[in-house]
């Protein structure tokens, strides 16, 4: 059966369960990291309402953790990741900075962006991670980054992480086309969670799958899902290998978020999906499957203590007053080619007026 969208994936899952067999040490590390990220998000969901201290939109990615962890298990430090607004899983996988995440969400100056970006715009330049709240914009930026690597003969790759909703914009298809004609090292990392905010893929595209549209531009496409671990891992690693060889690749990962689009509260009342749909996908969740298989009964969540400790440290920090808004927006710095940017004041005073509209030769 050709699994290329959520309907066909659902049919498959109704017939069979994927098992977690033959996991190696590296796979256990991946699962543990993904469990940790899920627990961070579960805790955020509680703390958001309990404390009412996180005063910024948060887009949880519960259910979508594995692709981020697998991707970053194989990326290099110098590889750029431009991520969508649902940033927590990718941020933690790429940067490993839980404390900087919490401080950022709480608006503290110790945050990844001194508390000015919040959840959806968080970035960490040191580790080459950049998220943005306007989803397709990051895709175009990733293209420029990959193009720069090629121009500089560097072996870095760039990853554009986006949901299928990003593909509604013209910029998205400009990006796919340009990456093909210039043959640049980029992964278009599509986390297709079925919904662009609240609208179903099927309402927005006639084509059965996004990959098939993308492939018509001449880009190599891979399609996988977050319910079949071995396939997911092998396809993500394959996409990295292709990009590392200097080529663009489009990987579409069919996934599902159990968490709401935004905020911590149940959003089924928005009417775009119901809890039985959520439960269906949740019943095939790989992290739950992993816990059941390997951690068995009396499961003691060892992560919570660390998470709460980090959150409390961030919570206690004081807010910092902004001293200069200008320098936040402008560096006013120059490359030191001229010691001081200067002008010769006298030069233009005796304007020997020359003929104004001399025809331009071009």
């Amino acid at each position: 059966m050709n699994i290329n969208n959520h309907s066909s994936l659902k049919k498959l899952l109704l017939r069979k369960n994927f098992l977690l067999n033959g996991l190696k040490k590296n796979d256990h590390e991946i699962f543990n990291k993904a469990r940790f990220i899920r627990e961070v998000q579960n805790q955020l969901k509680i703390l958001y309402r309990k404390d009412e201290l996180i005063k910024c939109p948060i887009h949880l990615a519960i259910g979508q953790e594995l692709p981020a962890v697998i991707l970053n298990s194989r990326l290099k430090k110098e590889d750029d990741v431009y991520c969508h607004h649902r940033s927590h899983a990718h941020f933690l996988s790429k940067t490993n900075q839980l404390n900087k995440l919490f401080c950022e969400l709480l608006g503290k100056s110790q945050g990844a962006n001194k508390g000015f970006a919040g959840s959806q715009d968080i970035s960490y330049a040191k580790k080459k991670f950049y998220a943005g709240a306007i989803v397709t914009g990051g895709v175009g930026i990733a293209v420029g980054s990959a193009f720069a690597s090629k121009l500089q003969n560097k072996n870095n790759i760039s990853v554009a992480v986006f949901g299928e909703g990003a593909s509604h914009q013209g910029l998205f298809w400009e990006s796919i086309n340009f990456s093909v004609i210039k043959n640049i090292p980029i992964i278009f990392f599509c986390e297709n969670n079925k919904y662009a905010t609240y609208s179903d893929y099927k309402e927005n595209f006639k084509s059965e799958s996004l990959s098939s549209i993308a492939s018509s531009f001449g880009i190599t496409t891979l399609i996988t899902n977050t319910f079949d671990y071995n396939d997911l891992k092998s396809k993500i690693l394959k996409s990295i290998a292709i990009a590392r060889k200097g080529k663009p690749i489009f990987i579409e990962i069919l996934t599902y978020r159990y968490s709401p689009h935004v905020g911590p509260d149940d959003d089924t009342k928005a009417g775009y999906r119901n809890s039985s749909e959520i439960n269906f996908w949740k019943s095939h969740d790989l992290l739950d499957l992993y816990i059941n298989k390997y951690l068995k009964i009396n499961y003691n969540n060892k992560f919570n203590e660390k998470i709460i400790k980090n959150y409390n440290i961030a919570k206690k920090l004081k807010f910092k007053k902004v001293k200069n808004w200008h320098t936040l927006n402008f560096s006013d710095e120059y490359l030191p080619l001229f010691k001081k940017i200067k002008i010769s004041k006298k030069l233009k005073l005796n304007n020997r007026y020359q003929k104004l509209f001399t025809p331009n030769p071009y």
Binding site: K114, G137, I141, G144, Q152, N329, L337, N351, Y353, N360
Partner: protein
């Protein structure tokens, strides 16, 4: 050494200097690699610096501007050109949501050294979709500097300074100025971005120009020699951030002000600048003798045919009348 360059040649010489001196700089835009590219401003650069430095781009302005962010973030220093500012409108997302906010939302930890040249296509029948003076839309956005050089000397100096700047800079060029000639240094030099250029010294009336009008005023002065010592002509090269020190200093002497803007009053930056000038004059206890005057373009789109276009723009008669009235 100095040489007579046209405005277009001055930009070409500036780009050449940048490519020579800043090894990671690249020039990106539609047709930058063609002979006579971008009104001659990129002519011949491809032969000297190869297609890895002088990069043609498909007709997708939105991606072009977006991708420049990625390039700048990968330690390149891109200099983009939008052949018409009207085309740059496709890149509003990249400009306002990403470039402008980049440093701020990084908490000041990351900057984007990139330059965007945008050309206002005045002259020889460019019409309503090729010559709109849309620069005020790009002015006053924290995170993006906006400059508008109007002489070959400033065009080159501002371009080089912009390429050296670690902040994003948009340079507005008027196509009508490309043939304007001036003797300028052959070697590289830089001009401050928030610069006011005094182009004539006079005692009776301060004329501040935003855009390409100052050349027309000089032409009027040339023809009416009695105005030579009366008009103090100042070009506002830096539009945002804005410095008005020289204008205020000049008003202390002349006490009369005309602002001429190459845009519609309804959209332009003239009102904002006037406001700032008045505020500063009040603070410095400079009392203006006559009410300041703001002259903009007729509030209409711009006709295509050259003959109709000539009716539209400010001409010597209108300006001379205004000058006589305020003197």
């Amino acid at each position: 050494m100095k040489k007579i360059y046209s405005y277009a040649e001055a930009i070409n010489s500036g780009l050449d200097y940048i490519l020579k001196k800043i090894p990671n700089s690249v020039i990106v835009g539609q047709g930058v690699d063609r002979p006579g590219g971008v009104f001659g401003t990129t002519d011949g650069l491809i032969g000297k610096y190869s297609n890895k430095r002088v990069i043609d781009f498909p007709i997708c302005e939105s991606l072009m501007t977006s991708s420049a962010i990625g390039m700048a973030n990968r330690k390149l220093r891109p200099i983009l050109v939008h052949q018409r500012i009207d085309f740059a409108m496709y890149s509003f997302d990249a400009l306002f949501n990403w470039i402008a906010t980049w440093r701020f939302k990084s908490g000041g930890t990351s900057t984007l050294p990139l330059v965007i040249r945008a050309i206002i296509g005045r002259g020889w029948g460019q019409g309503p979709q090729h010559s709109k003076p849309l620069y005020p839309l790009l002015s006053g956005i924290p995170g993006i500097k906006l400059v508008m050089p109007t002489t070959p000397f400033d065009a080159k100096g501002i371009l080089i300074a912009s390429a050296l700047s670690n902040d994003p800079v948009i340079i507005i060029e008027h196509r009508s100025l490309y043939g304007l000639k001036e003797e300028i240094p052959v070697d590289g030099y830089a001009v401050e971005l928030d610069h006011e250029r005094i182009r004539n010294i006079g005692e009776k009336l301060t004329i501040a120009c935003i855009g390409d009008a100052s050349n027309l005023i000089l032409k009027i002065i040339e023809k009416n020699r009695n105005l030579k010592n009366k008009i103090e002509l100042i070009d506002l090269v830096g539009i945002y951030p804005l410095t008005i020190t020289k204008i205020v200093k000049s008003l202390k002497k002349t006490k009369k002000l005309i602002i001429i803007e190459s845009c519609w009053d309804s959209l332009g930056v003239g009102h904002k600048i006037l406001n700032k000038i008045i505020k500063e004059c009040n603070e410095k206890k400079i009392k203006l003798e006559k009410e300041p005057m703001l002259i903009g373009l007729p509030e209409s789109h711009i006709p295509t045919s050259h003959y109709n276009e000539n009716q539209f723009y400010l001409d010597e008669n209108i300006l001379l009348k205004a000058i006589r009235k305020k003197l």
